[in-house]
Symmetry: C2
Amino acid sequence: MRTNYCGAINTRYLNETITLYGWVHRRRDHGGVIFIDLRDREGLVQTICDPDNIDAFQCAEKIRNEFVLKITGIVRRRPEGTINLTLFSGEVEVLVTTIEVLNTSLTPPFLMDDDNISEAIRLEYRYLDLRRPAMQANLRLRHKVSMAVRVFLDQNGFIDIETPMLTKSTPEGARDYLVPSRVNIGHFFALPQSPQLFKQLLMVSGFDRYYQITRCFRDEDLRADRQPEFTQIDIETSFLSQDEIMRLMEKMIRSLFTSVVSVDLPSPFPRLTYAEAIADYGSDKPDLRIPLKLIELTDVMKEVSFKVFREAAEKPDGRIAALRIPQGGKLSRKEIDDYTNFVAIYGAKGLAYIKVNTLAKGLEGLQSPILKFLSEDAVDTILTRTDAQDGDLIFFGADKAKIVNEALGALRVKIGHEHGYAESGWKPLWVVDFPMFERDEEENRWRALHHPFTSPADGHENMLESEPDKALSKAYDMVLNGSEIGGGSVRIHRKDIQSKVFQALNISNTEAQEKFSFLLEALQYGAPPHGGIAFGLDRILTMMTGAESIRDVIAFPKTQRAQCLLTHAPGTVNKQQLDELSIRLGKNKNTAA
Amino acid sequence: MRTNYCGAINTRYLNETITLYGWVHRRRDHGGVIFIDLRDREGLVQTICDPDNIDAFQCAEKIRNEFVLKITGIVRRRPEGTINLTLFSGEVEVLVTTIEVLNTSLTPPFLMDDDNISEAIRLEYRYLDLRRPAMQANLRLRHKVSMAVRVFLDQNGFIDIETPMLTKSTPEGARDYLVPSRVNIGHFFALPQSPQLFKQLLMVSGFDRYYQITRCFRDEDLRADRQPEFTQIDIETSFLSQDEIMRLMEKMIRSLFTSVVSVDLPSPFPRLTYAEAIADYGSDKPDLRIPLKLIELTDVMKEVSFKVFREAAEKPDGRIAALRIPQGGKLSRKEIDDYTNFVAIYGAKGLAYIKVNTLAKGLEGLQSPILKFLSEDAVDTILTRTDAQDGDLIFFGADKAKIVNEALGALRVKIGHEHGYAESGWKPLWVVDFPMFERDEEENRWRALHHPFTSPADGHENMLESEPDKALSKAYDMVLNGSEIGGGSVRIHRKDIQSKVFQALNISNTEAQEKFSFLLEALQYGAPPHGGIAFGLDRILTMMTGAESIRDVIAFPKTQRAQCLLTHAPGTVNKQQLDELSIRLGKNKNTAA
């Protein structure tokens, strides 16, 4: 039987007879002997077949890449000059006594140490792709992260409780995956978008501290970092204040980073209000690795003659902000044009700038297409506010606040990373004091910024009706290097407040009753104050591994067309299956009954 | 903030000021003071409101059952004669300083210590049902079991890898739950019946040891102990022999029972072959708590004059067996009639018996309706084979072997439990050497007894075609107290053997290619020898907790009509949702296209 993993052999085992199982990573004839690099999940070891051992040698001659072998041999030191210190086993080799071929292999479509394989081929041959050391490392890290989270939560009194997968439409607002019921013809289960309502019910049940690492589903058009099914670290607690929940959760994330990747995150995490984050970074998930900040100019641009600035400043939802790029004067015209095209993605109609060549020369020392539209006073104000220095470049955004924030917020991150302003390492923070609602302009109604079960901030209960735009919530997001990795809130635990929020959201009593009657009822039977959070496990892992795609931290992911190239799911089904469910396929939408 | 859990207060905290959060379990006025039993997940503590503390007292007067309170008070010893040793906190009480009502409650539909509530009410108000201490204990035990399993597997090098929920039809043969795809109109995902193929692919990928505690789905008509979604401890390993896998897995179950319920299971578990289990117990999942065994009579009944016995003995698929009930002579005529009706469920046409009153009296000492059909020799043989004693009762089964086994096997367990033959405690065992195939008489073909990926026993590869009925497999079941709690096998890792098995099962190349092409392909790229097992977590918990139903160890179960009485899932969906999926509802099966 196996005595050791290939990748775990070193000089400690010198002269020992060992038995290994593994895959032929590479085989080469060299100077009359055959070298086989044998690979298992722990790594590689070099084995060597001497022609003196005729059986093993003849066997080795027939061996090809990715054959599965059982090798018994003796560990010996590699000769001087052949030591490979990039391998754990690089100081030793195994002199083969016996080889047994446990299975052969066709020539694989790619080599296991090739990192330039098209993703379509990787996904089609996923079982081979997962042999590659990078993918092995990603999935093993995933296991370590899950386990570290479980150990932390278990030690802190959290109980892992499984909630249903076959359930009812949940209120996250994304599209549900539906599952037709055979027993109850014409009725459908929905796969959960999150266990939100169940975890709240578990608090009503008095479990006090719940967690679950669980699969969630959203039938959305996929973006690069999304999957139809994704994994959430789902957490809920009773009787804790917002601050207590946040402190416990950042402790968990700190302990995770320490134990899994030996990184010490700051304690406590910095906190920004939503308003501060938008003002300084144009984003509610700022990448704090980049020190550049947006600088407010709206207040001082109301009187300027430059129409673009003045009109934006005068609008109630307008904003003018500057982004100073220290020593950005070196940016070429081409680069500035590219950035102008980049901000256009976010709806910005242009990208005004001032190059600060020599402050001492006054207006003469500046270079800008908009200079001619600005008074000397206005220019002075800008230079003072932005604290401009010789060699700097100042970009401007002037439009609806939403456009300015998104455009300059994204530009800040892009320039920060492209031009070396980004610090390395991990920069977590909390964003707090989110508004309860945001305006859905298309549907002309208020929408919940988090979800409809989020508690208003203390004292804001009465603003739900009168000033819904100003009401703040007890929601909090954990942000890491510009990505939201967790979002949570204190929940509403009183039925009267919950009804008010539904009202503000224009959810009728009938609709609330139909969708959430069990929650509304549960709130009347001694619901405790409670709150929680959900972390996106896939995203955390994508960041931790530095993977290019979320698909690299998922064993069997779907493509952006929501297909599995390995199993060819989704597939067709036969008539009997559909008959049993009493459903028919329409040729297209127009033929649907 | 909370200083302690209610149920965790004892004399260690005497004279300390503590703060508790919890639910009003019961409130009573007594001698001018108000007693409130406050309950949280750890248990109860008695709190006491003195009228001297006017604010707290007035608040306490308005309090009703299941209100949520924050109570601060001082721990003191209970007066002599009021100590309640059934409670952990029963030697102390908390003299209330302040009460805060965090939430009120309507009068709940049942009391939290009522154990006689209809299941429909319990499931409708599941959030209240889960407050009951028994349900709290069940779900906390479930958490402990999951965590103990994870810790054991982590320590033994197993990697937790998540496999897809949105996948393709799996080959377990039960009905799939289907999920229509919106992006790929007319195509369907299937929810997994198990991760069988994915875990085999992970072995091909070289992960070596995989596990997952995962949800599986079967759209079957529900029996008492089944749920549409259930949880499996799913395990796979590479390069281990059947014996090594079994030893590792029983070690896990032993460690689980020791750590979670302080029970020491035997080491090693006893093993029975399938043939032995059927011969001795009439079942491949024998309840070893009952020492009674079936006694073979087929060989000695071929010549008897009694037609019922002779015909059964002469049939190639017939069997005659006896079940001796020591001192069973005390069974009444009524009881024997009831058992006769019981075995009829399994198809037995009667239940012959001999009462052994006094052996010394010869035939005179026996009492039986069939005595007159049997020769003295035949009776002697029976008495010798069964080792009958004065006072015993001997039951007989004579029919097709399947009927005899099922009828006497079930009778053995029923009488064993009803008449005190059962030992207490836990009796695990392995059943091994299962046949590869069983005959599907209706469809007139061979079916896989485990699943089509199970390896034949060494040397039985060539019997797949020639003697499919005799070919044994490397499958193994773990049985505990008469329930199968886990089933597994060494898998086929060579394509040629896999093709032979498909052939024996009459699965055409086209069908195999369509359903399992990715597996067949993977087997050609260096698939290692591998095998694994899957345990039914819900069933293990049902047994560990002594619950009456699997529904008592699942937080939010479905009824036998596959409905959730709490959320009213499955529910109706709107036309837009169906249009997006391009599916239509048929009125009934006949209208399906």
